[in-house]
Assembly symmetry: D2
């Protein structure tokens, strides 16, 4: 960490700060310039928050050199991490994870039909929402626990592990007992109590990026889960909020190589939520595979126009099957498999 | 709501959609153009989500005319709402609420000292964080329940009602028993389970805007609280995330007249979090008062450089006193009082 | 276009507006609801600007149904347009255009060396900046006309057509005489006098997206060029400005299928400027090819660390050769050729 | 400037870089840490562009300490600059500049009528567009030179100096001869050839902020004008582009104190373009005055609903008169005058 002090900073203050940081186990390198004094802190600076130091009236600015995360940091863990969802390995060059299913579980029969179809089309993990975060209190809020039990039935039938979103700590037992991959949604990416709670779970976590979270904030949320004991985190990009309104969100695919450089965790891509439009899902999915994604999560519904939520961004099963087929070709072109 | 259907839409589909909406109690006006058929839906469209209708392959686009909220909507509730925090009325042209105190409660002695100082300087509500949302798991996480009890002591001593942030439903009893104004932070603005939980509380709620929430999404979160039984919501703008990095967030002061047009709820402004820099707090606070804000919430610390969080955006008590004095003059210039 | 009038709008005003629009050759469909009166305008609405109509105090809002562009609009020109740069056809499923070269032309020798190398590696168009838009007046501003003449030399030597940026109408003769593809940079996307000027040129134009331009604004800038007589426009996405700072800009690849749906023009991608980092160029380029781009424009420099501009986002020739090879595989996987 | 080198950087490379910078007249302080080597550059670093240095493969990152501008920099010019428009002084605590008039000059009679009205209401500078930047080639493009001559007539009649936008270097003589304050619009903020051209003018320049320009980029554009010989620059904030669509742009009022800290130039605010809605102009104008703006520029039209452009964001003269009256009170409350 590099701290720039104003030219007029009294020597006593420089000494006080030096002591302060040395007492935290850091080494302090000082360099005195004409306009500024520079303090370079060497050691574990993860407990120091730049913004707090800026409170000091002598500090001109603070600049972090090392990343504020440790457990997620590739520098301290150079090997790719493989996360197992049921028996399916994700990350580290393994076959791509293809998660598919409806936005919301609407009925036992409905989820089972779609599960059969997405499996046939090439999916290896079943998605489906039971607890649904909806902008309006008047919208369908999901089937809740019943939806999870329906997912379990669909898993029994197809053998695919299941992924669904947790919205509250109070449901943690339901998820522990029934779910293979526990999703933290974009809106809860900084719900720190929920992050701590799933940090104690013995289940892999799918952590979606918040719609306006920086990449570092996103990794810090993974770090929360890991610091509380759960190393099995899969990151999922789902689009960020920008001024452009032709898509619901803007898909930021450069995150794939960036996440791979900064962390050792798997990263998958959600083209359904990013684009909000079924017509855009396939080109964006192909792009994600080409850029090195470890998997995809895609909304599929057999009657999108009757879906209780997100029909506009759901693919029909036959379109999804075509997508998987085309993604396979691109995956092979970049040395991966589906 | 206006639905534009593609030119080739079969009559049978037009009829099917018409029936569908009429069965939901809406009137449907049809108008056939050369390129498009337009359906105008008249009635209560709050249960219809535009994006769901776009799933229909014949739909070109959907355009909402009436706001998706009812309880918060000024159209159905023309009078300004006054929310009482303890005995302090907020909104509807009442004296401005001046909430002040440290980012985090750090000790009983500390909070009592600051409470005395901000009261003397003109604050009428005491703020202080007990449960703290921190980006890093390695940062100070707040004193928790002990911090709330310290706030209660400071209230006993000064008579000022207290506001503090709730981060999890599991603490709801602590807040019910001890806190006068329950804050939902920006990161939890769409933590819908938490919104529902505080919707059942018999306490006023301070709802901060999410850092990338549209104004309508923010109002919809207020609607969640109100739809679950709690009409006492105060909105708080705290800056939105943009490309500009000279401030931590960009303060959007046009929201003040917009919120007053769209809703009947009070709105206050948080210049500390918006700017992230103590030097900018006063000019932004003056601007907020001039634009018609119903109050301010400001971080004050007697030793910002030693604060355990957010020192950079905290004012020293004497600077805060000057701010209140200057805000008073601006308030009077626009016909308000502090 | 759909205009929503407030419930209290006097009949005389409805009549006045109806006359106004009918006099512009439009048909007006009226539909009277309980809360609102809806006017649907049918016909050529490209001359009507929504925002102007909103000035009417009786207008609640205005909603455009048809796109505001005609010449660029696929609806009126369903076939893909092929733009020829020299003899190289771009768009409509043709071989991908691979434009490569240094950010700035630095010397005749330098551009010739790089030209040889990028040609060998698979480029078919040579890029190089002569007039350079630099944020700082103290930065290298390009060699100007001399740089263009150096490009011409490199073209003579390699046979590759050349693309370079025009920054001012006063250079239009130099470009007419020497350049094969005239680039309008992101910062000049709404320099309307320059757009009009190149609209009179008998040369193809490479129109970069402004860093905060919506897709519709970008197409409208193409429409400017086309409306002044030049139909040969190639669009180029180069990243948009968002809150995320891990990359210089955020690459929005969903624009590829969107542009193809809305317009009939070719679209190419610039991963160098979008990411600002050479390590990210290849994954983003692969993604662009997978998503259906008609070409790429990439910065290549034989000594990036000594480049006078943009070295950080330049590939070394051997890395560029590897990129082309890998892009070829992805192109084939999606049925295209390089 | 602080350059962080990777731990494995060879000593020879450290030496090479040190020489390189010392040859540019800089002092280099080196500090060797466990993970990184830090180079601190002391001296005039305005000619060094961070991004160029990042091209070096051994460089981890580069961090600028001193601002990249000199002439606009308050550090080297501590006194506020007063810019004279005609005889009207702007900045440095002078009376606020109130610029008002129509978006576009539509006729001689029209501009004269509005000029009389805004003068009566308290304006001291007349605005009006002659050359108009319009998103669509099919929209009214302004009266051009005739519009400027109409403005001159209105100046003769009222005595108010005039401000209007220049869009192309080719009109520079018209502006030199006729215009008192030459406006560079938001879309041309980085039209560097135009900046250089007005840098040679002996006229004050009103430089609007680009809709996605950072504060530093904006100041650098002022620096372009100043570096080419013209020190008389007034900055004008007109809203930035964000995800929020309730207003056309988001007004960033924190720029007022930031610009005053970073530069010595006057800054005025344009609430018309920022909000895009006449109802929001007054509250935002009051806020700007409270935050310390040196002036306002506001669109006024006597028949907004018939304006050829921007009627929605124009005030009627009587509403403008009320605004000036209310701004006066706020100005006095913060120690300024109108």
């Amino acid at each position: 960490m590099i701290i720039t002090l104003k030219r007029a900073t009294p020597q006593a203050e420089v000494d006080r700060l030096t002591d302060l940081f040395e007492n935290q186990g850091l080494k302090v390198n000082l360099s005195f310039g004409e306009y500024y004094t520079i303090m370079g802190l060497v050691g574990d600076t993860t407990k120091i928050y730049e913004h707090d130091i800026e409170a000091n009236e002598w500090v001109e600015n603070v600049h972090r050199v090392q990343a504020p995360y440790k457990l997620a940091n590739r520098e301290f863990h150079p090997e790719d991490t493989i996360v197992y969802v049921g028996n399916t390995p994700i990350g580290a060059g393994q076959k791509l994870a293809i998660m598919a299913g409806p936005c919301s579980v609407e009925s036992l029969e409905g989820i089972c039909t779609i599960a059969d179809e997405v499996k046939k089309a090439g999916a290896n993990i079943l998605r489906g929402g039971a607890y649904k975060p909806r902008t309006s209190p008047y919208s369908f809020q999901g089937l809740g626990y019943e939806g999870i039990l329906d997912m379990v039935e669909a898993r029994n039938r197809t053998g695919m592990p299941i992924v669904t979103e947790i919205m509250s700590e109070k449901h943690i037992d339901e998820f522990m007992e029934n779910v293979d991959l526990v999703q933290i949604g974009a809106r809860n990416m900084q719900n720190f109590d929920l992050l701590k709670a799933v940090g104690h779970l013995n289940k892999p976590i799918l952590l979606k990026r918040g719609m306006s979270a920086t990449i570092d904030e996103w990794i810090m949320s993974a770090e929360y889960i890991m610091a509380h004991g759960n190393p099995n985190v899969i990151l999922c990009e789902r689009g960020i909020r920008t001024f452009e309104k032709a898509t619901r969100f803007t898909m930021d695919l450069a995150v794939i190589p960036i996440i791979k450089k900064k962390t050792h965790l798997p990263i998958i891509i959600d083209p359904s939520h990013a684009t909000g439009s079924w017509e855009l899902i396939e080109p964006v999915a192909l792009a994600a595979v080409a850029a090195g994604a470890d998997g995809l999560i895609i909304e599929v519904h057999d009657h999108p126009e009757q879906a209780l939520s997100d029909g506009a961004q759901s693919l029909k099963p036959e379109k999804f099957a075509a997508l998987v087929k085309n993604c396979k070709k691109v995956a092979e072109a970049v040395g991966r498999k589906i």
